[in-house]
Structures are given as C-alpha cells and as structure tokens.
Symmetry: C2
Subunit: 398 residues, 2 copies
Amino acid sequence: VYVLRRLHAADDEPDAATLGLHFDLTVPFARYVLENAGKLDFPFRRYQIQKVWRGERPQDGRYREFTQADIDVVARDALPFHHDVEIARVMAQALTRLAFLPPLRLQVNNRKLIEGFYRGVGAPDPSAVMRAIDKLDKLPPAAVEKLLIEQAQVSTEQARLCLELASIRTTDSSFADKVSALGVQHELLSAGITELVAVIDGCQPFASDRFVVEADLSIARGLDYYTGTVFETRMAGHEHLGSICSGGRYDSLASDGTTTYPGVGISLGVTRLLVPLLIRGELSASRSVPSAVLVAVVSDDDRGPSEAVADALRARGIATEVAGSAAKFGRQIRSAERRGVPFVWFPAHGEVGHEVKDIRSGDQVAADPALWEPPAGDRRPTVNTVSTASSEPKVEAK
Amino acid sequence: VYVLRRLHAADDEPDAATLGLHFDLTVPFARYVLENAGKLDFPFRRYQIQKVWRGERPQDGRYREFTQADIDVVARDALPFHHDVEIARVMAQALTRLAFLPPLRLQVNNRKLIEGFYRGVGAPDPSAVMRAIDKLDKLPPAAVEKLLIEQAQVSTEQARLCLELASIRTTDSSFADKVSALGVQHELLSAGITELVAVIDGCQPFASDRFVVEADLSIARGLDYYTGTVFETRMAGHEHLGSICSGGRYDSLASDGTTTYPGVGISLGVTRLLVPLLIRGELSASRSVPSAVLVAVVSDDDRGPSEAVADALRARGIATEVAGSAAKFGRQIRSAERRGVPFVWFPAHGEVGHEVKDIRSGDQVAADPALWEPPAGDRRPTVNTVSTASSEPKVEAK
C-alpha cells in the first residue's frame, strides 16, 4: 500500500522506488519460504509478531500501523490435513490463556464443504453463490435470496438450500447431521464435512463459556483465496471490530513454478484486539510502572546505600527504582503510591536496619536486600479487567 | 529520511505526504513528552525497543531497517545529575547480563569537562577544537595538531594541551588527577570532572575484564548536541562496527517554548550488535526450533493420544510439537535430532506406558505427561558462543 521515497534521493537511486512497507505477514513469509526452501526442514512452522501497514483512515479497530501475530505451517508439495487442526488448537490454547479478554468465539468453516454443497445442489457458479452468501451479515435473507437467484443464477429451491446451509451453526460436530439432513450429495462436500468435524473436535479441549468454538457455515469471506479450513474470531461486546483472529488453508501459499508450498495459518490482530479494550478502560495495568520497589534515599549527599539495595534486588529480577531525592519519607512514599509501586524500601541508616513497607497495608518489616522477595503477584504489573455492560453477555451460539 | 506515498493515493489526501518512518527513537520520545507533559509524572523513565529506518547502503553493521533499544529519563525544567549515573548503571547492568557477547568497553566523556578545558587554555572557538579532536580516530596526532592550529586557531602550546587531554584514558577516576596535572583551570572543567568521576565510580560494581568502564577524554563525537555526559561502547573484535551503544545528556531534549525538558539516555543498537555476530557464527542457538519435546505418533489414524500429551506438556509451558506422521520411531527420532529437539516422547500404546527419551544420551524412562519436566537448561534454546580469533583478546584500556 505504501511505497517509500528517500528525501534527497539521488536520481540514480533505482531501488528507492521499489521499497515498501509490509501489508501483512503472509506475503513476506511466502517470499521467505521460496528464498530459503533449500535450507528449511518441512513441514516448517513459524510464528511472527510484527507491524504491518494499511491504507486505512484511522478509527476504532482500524489503524494505519498495527501489530499482527501470525502462526503458519508450510510444507513442500503436500501438507497433511492434521496441521489445520494443529493451527486451530495452538491458537485456541493461546487465546484461552488470555483470560483478561472478553469472551471469544472462534468460528470455523470449510471451503470444500461449501463449494461441494453448492456444486451438489447444481449451482452453475459456486463463487457467485459465495459472494451472495457473504452479504448475509449486511442484508436480510430475502435480499440475499434475490441476489442468489439474480446474480448466482440458481433456482428458488437451490437458493433455499444454500440459505439453509448458511443458517447452520453448532458448537460441536452435530452440524454434520444438519448438513446431511438437507439431502445434498457431493464428494467435495463429504471431504469438507470430515475436515470441519476434525477441527471442531480437535478444539473441544479448549472450549468453554469464555471460548466458544463453533462451526459456522455462513462464513464466506476469504473463501475465494482459502482452499479448505477458514477461521474467524469475534470478541463479545466488540463485534463491530469484525474478526480479530482469522486465517485458513491455502493450498498454494507460495509457488516457484515447479514446486508448490501449501500452508495453513492464522493471524491475531494484536492492536485491533487490545487498543479498543485499553481505550474503553476494559483493560488496564495494576500500576503505571514496572517497578515493584522504590528505594528511599536518606541523604542527597550519598545515594550509594540506596543504589546498592537496588542493585541487589535487580540482580534477582525485582524491578526497582531509587527515589529522586532525599525528600521526607512521607513524600517519597506518596511518589510510590501515585504510580502504584507497592513497596518502599528504607535502607539501613544510623541504628536502623533495612526495612521494607507494603504501602497498601502499611506493614513495615525488617528485610535483607539479598533475600527479600515480593509476593509473586506483585513482581510484575498485572492486567486489571473491568467488564463494561456491553461485554457482559456471554458469547453464545446464535 | 523516508517519506511515504500511498499507492493509488487520491489527490485530496493531504496527509499522505506528511507520513514518515522513524529515524531514531529520541525524536518520537521528545514528541511524546511534549504531547503528554500534563499526564506524566516527572522524572519520567521509559524504555522503548523498536525499529528505525535510515538511508544507508546496507552493509555489515549498517542497515536500512534495524532495531534499537533506548532508555531515557526526562524531567521538567531540571533533571538532577544523578540520573546520568543511573542511566549508565542500568545499561551497564543490562549489558553485563548478556554474557554471550564479546567483551565490551563503555567509554564515557563529558562535554563540560572538554569545553571547560578548551576555554581554560584560552581556545577562541571550543567547538572548532572538538571538531578537530574528533578526527583523532582517523588522522595521526600531528595532522590533528595542524587542524587545531589552522582551523581552531589555537597556539602550538594550546594544541599540545588539547592533544594531551585527548590522550587520557583511565578505567577509574584517576583521570581527574591527570587532567589536574595539565594545570588548566576553569569552573566548567571542574564541574565536568566531578560529573565524570561520579559516572565512572557509579559503574564500578559492574566493571570486569569482560565489561570495561573507561573515562576516554578523546571522545568528541556527539559533543555538539550533548551538554554533559556522553557514552559510546565498543565491542572487542568488532571495533569496525563503531559504537554499539551510545547516548548522553541533553539539557533540552524537548521544549515547547516556555518549558524545557532535559533528558539523559542511551541507545543500544540491537541489530548492529547481534547481526554481525550471527553472520560470523560467533553466536548461534542451541537448536533451530523452540521445541524441547517431539511427541511421536503411533498411528496416523489416531493422533489424539499424542496431541493429549502435547497439551499436557504445553499447559506447563514446555514447548512441544507432535510428529508429522506415524513413521518408524527411528525416523521420528531423526527428525527431532536434525533440528536439535532434545527429547522424544512415546505416548502410551498397547501394553507400554508413556516413555520419554533423551536423544543425546539415549536414556529412555517412564514418564507422566502431567509431571515430567525437562532439565532447566533444556526448556528453551540457549545461546552458543564461539569466540573467533579476532574476539579473543580481552578488552583493555588502550
């Protein structure tokens, strides 16, 4: 989307115009696979968390510069189907660990299933049917039926079956029976059902009220470039963001003319997911700084004893800062309090030994800089969640 | 350096031409401070690890797109000097933890010291003296002396003193005596000596054969924009890369016309540091994948038992992959071996219970997926170091 121009570029600088910014992480990955095919051990799994750039008008959930986190598996010539299940399971397991997120719904569909069904009903142009079905989230079914008949050139009965198929949503593999009940037969349809059953079943160990895994046969977006499994993910109370985690199977992620590299992957929109939650205050940090401890300073003439305490704590991985000046202790404590730093350390001075104060409880105890540990929950800032009214409803199958 | 143009940009899109890529992390930080001054708690400390872009011709140690890691402290109106010591200590502590790096030398100088000395000797244009002294790493002293006399308009005796000053390098605060021995007096010189002594002394707890901290009074680069402390860092055997970690004190990091925000910071060139070491094989990973365990597959018809083992291990943070197919166990083991995965897990099958094999020793033992732990050293890939001849010599003060 963006090309670069170097300011003061010389006229004889041919490559300036050929530099651009990544639109996604899939195209650079495909290029990497082609350039390194001789060195890679296939199937090759990779994750990549990186910024990408789009030509967006910046708004809620849409950014010009944002971060994606992708996982993909790619093979040479053939990639066994079980990697579709693996990708779904890995992302499901990762997302269920993010317990601070609103409830999520992973929606899965399969192009073979959809295309096989459309072929089975005798639709002359399955792609046109997909394009019409894709409008279901914007148009009422009657309007989509009209599109199916007029643009996809199917009969009223064929349109009814296609709309029936798109209405199927189940959180287990019972969708397969519902599809069979429609009485349509096609080899590709059977293959697609088998695959979708495997993905839905494979994700069951991670399914819960807060992480719904659902076969949703209305998903048609992306089915023009995916060749099998397709993933989308909605976040409860934030459906207007669209899918926050999408992907699928490409039978030809990359190709050099003689060899084809099929892949399956999924991409989490890190910025799209987190920024709206942060902006609305649904997510916040337990403190505004990493520091677990502020070491008080006794005398501006000698910061050494305070620095030594900080060194001893930091050497054991405890985030520590030293107060800016030897203000009254009450003022040093308030400076910690203001930023949520839970502990203030008073270095040994005069007759008094080292002491550390939990400024929430006020408890102050003797402590050794070489041994003292904060409670595990205070070591790092934690994520606070505030459910807003709109994110309260649990995610349920529609 | 780079400005962006959106492909297919509309003519009425005025902002396309005003978008650019970061040249460094300091300018964006200064802008952030000005825009958020009302909300920040000063002194404000921040770290930032991010990509920046330069108009380089890509070569060893020079990149068009690379990653920097910056730490800075900024205050409103006045920033106590002890933050210069803090910044030096934090970076020293961080770098000494990177035990896989070749020996490093943190070189510190101070603009007040240098400028005060030049004023004390009566140089008419201290900046011109600095520009000449900055040439010392490229020209012999006699040539620099000529520059001093001709361009900085100092006398032969003044030039001698300036060159004497630039020859002072000590790994402790004894440089102060050597400066005093030159018999030059100036208020600014005294202030600079006091500051540089504090930085050098403050870093002593982290100094070692592998991390030399040195007052180097020849450092003149950056002294045109820094106003006090200046840092550079060299890596043994890789001196041609220049400084891999630089920074200093700006008395005016940012200003909005009425308020000034002084800052002190240092920036680590992550890419410049690591890529040459990786390219030369001085650094490598103990294995090519994160996986500590490969779970073998007994039957292609049922990957479930293997996936269940992987889930149990992953739930405890053990990076695990499942074999691609139920090939002969010997072949599955070789696939792990090829990528350095240290353990192969054989899921319970038939009469045989779960077993795990350390493929380096060949030891195979019974194990419970819910309890087994790899040795701590095998949990994650580790960094292997190979010292090349050129990085063998210890870093020593010249």
